[in-house]
Amino acid sequence: MAHSLVGPRIRERRRARGVSQVALAKDVGISASYLNLIEHNKRGIAGRTLIAIARELDMAPAELAEGADAGMIDTLTEAASAAPGAGAEMNRVSELIGRFPGWARVVGAIAQRAEAKDRQLSLLSDRLAHDPYLAEAMHLMLSSVTAVHSTAGILVENTEMNDQQRNRFTKNLYDESVRLTETAKDLVVYFDNPLESGVGGDETADLLHDFWAKRGFHAPDLETCNESAQHMLLDEMGDIAREDAEKSLARYQKIAAALPLTAFLEYAKRQHWDPLELAHATGASLRDVFFRLAHLPPDDGAPVFGLIECDASGGVLFRKELPGFPLPRQGGACPLWPLYRALGHPGQPVRAILRTPGDETFTAWAVASPDGPVDYALPPTCKSVMLFTTDAALTPSTAPAVEVGAQCRVCPRQTCASRRTAFLLK
């Protein structure tokens, strides 16, 4: 690939210096037709001829010969593939780089910037789709818009309507417009106040979540100590800070090594997937068992588990959602979740049956434990983890359910004593 740039470089340099092909060929002792073949990459060039041409063109031989970059060719090839109808002359990409290196860099930079923006857009779109507050707000706005649209249609299409009916529909129209306005204002506040609302959040946690979600929260290559697989995954995690990426993969590998998959699945079936029994049986910490259960292969008949991990302030460190149980990106989830109750009694496991506003029942287990170095002067850093599933077979039939929500803003339980902020629906 490197040599494919030599010919165009010679031609460009020769022309820039105003030297004819015949003259240069004569100076270096080759025929003009041979030089023509070299310039069009139809003949290779090396050794004495390369040195002679470089000398005549006042260039270092290395400068002439070295592959300006295969990376640039890849970049431009990718740019061309993003615009298939543009008719880019793919057979002349080396010539473009050789003859117009500056313009090639400009095209490459624009293509890379566009690709980065696409990735960012896709990430944001994914977040918008999974944010419980935004999902509820969008639903409310669409409901209001529906009522406004339909009511306005009725008023316009039914001119013979009596006054009482007309007044009623006009009032409905006004009420819906007020509700729409208030929801829109709430959304503006939500976006303006990322700390309060949870928008914004921890970029690293989001990127790690997206990385694992794309893989179904399971990495077969990390089940064994496969260093090359780890390197490949690290390359794929290019957007994530290296240290955080390495920590995430190392944690997976450490737990996979401590709880090998086949044996763990056998234990788990025998213990009816009860995390505490599994911890006793394997000698692993409850937290590692939670993590393992949330990272099982998706198609082996195991119950599907979700997981959320937070620090002592409730800040979300890791999350794996399940349908019907949305998780906040940052913090501010339902204070009735066992995740937070566990923080009050580190080391004490908690199990609870949770009923969501959508009337779905989840079984949840949580435990908080010290994490990180200890010091005489400071209390230990504490993290809490909650595992949850809808699998009915794991739900104790006698335990009463706790009525929970996702976040106060999207929770319709108006009389809840733990409510922190008003329900979005006005």
Binding site: S143, V145, T146, S150, I154, N172
Partner: protein
């Protein structure tokens, strides 16, 4: 006179749909709570059901699935009307046996045409 059971929890949408259908000669019964929507449908025995997806206490998908297990509702035309118009929602509704899937907001004439077609 043919009848529609409208299972929807937004009062102003209920009022608008009721007006549109009653003007066209339909009898309209309404119900706003997901929890006992199936029982209500069994009591009313409508010719067509319009079912919202996001309802309090029980989702439209669950109501649809439960209705389809009852002999009287196996073939009954059910129109799902929802603000959740993503492809996966439509696929889920189809998997649960919906007859027609429409997204909000809707044009009044489109809704009327759909209900008429289902009632024929």
């Amino acid at each position: 006179m043919k009848s529609v059971l409208l299972i929807e929890d937004e009062p102003n949408i209920i009022e608008a749909i009721r007006f549109i259908l009653e003007q066209d000669g339909w009898t309209v019964d309404t119900h706003s709570d997901g929890a006992d929507a199936v029982e209500r449908a069994a009591a009313v025995g409508p010719d067509v059901i319009i079912l919202d997806l996001m309802l309090p206490n029980k989702s439209g998908f669950d109501i649809l699935r439960d209705l389809r297990t009852l002999p009287a509702f196996v073939d009954l035309p059910i129109l799902m009307l929802t603000a959740k118009g993503q492809a996966k929602d439509r696929e889920t509704a189809e998997a649960h046996g919906v007859t027609k899937f429409m997204t909000k907001p809707f044009a009044n004439q489109d809704l009327l045409a759909a209900v008429r077609a289902l009632g024929d």
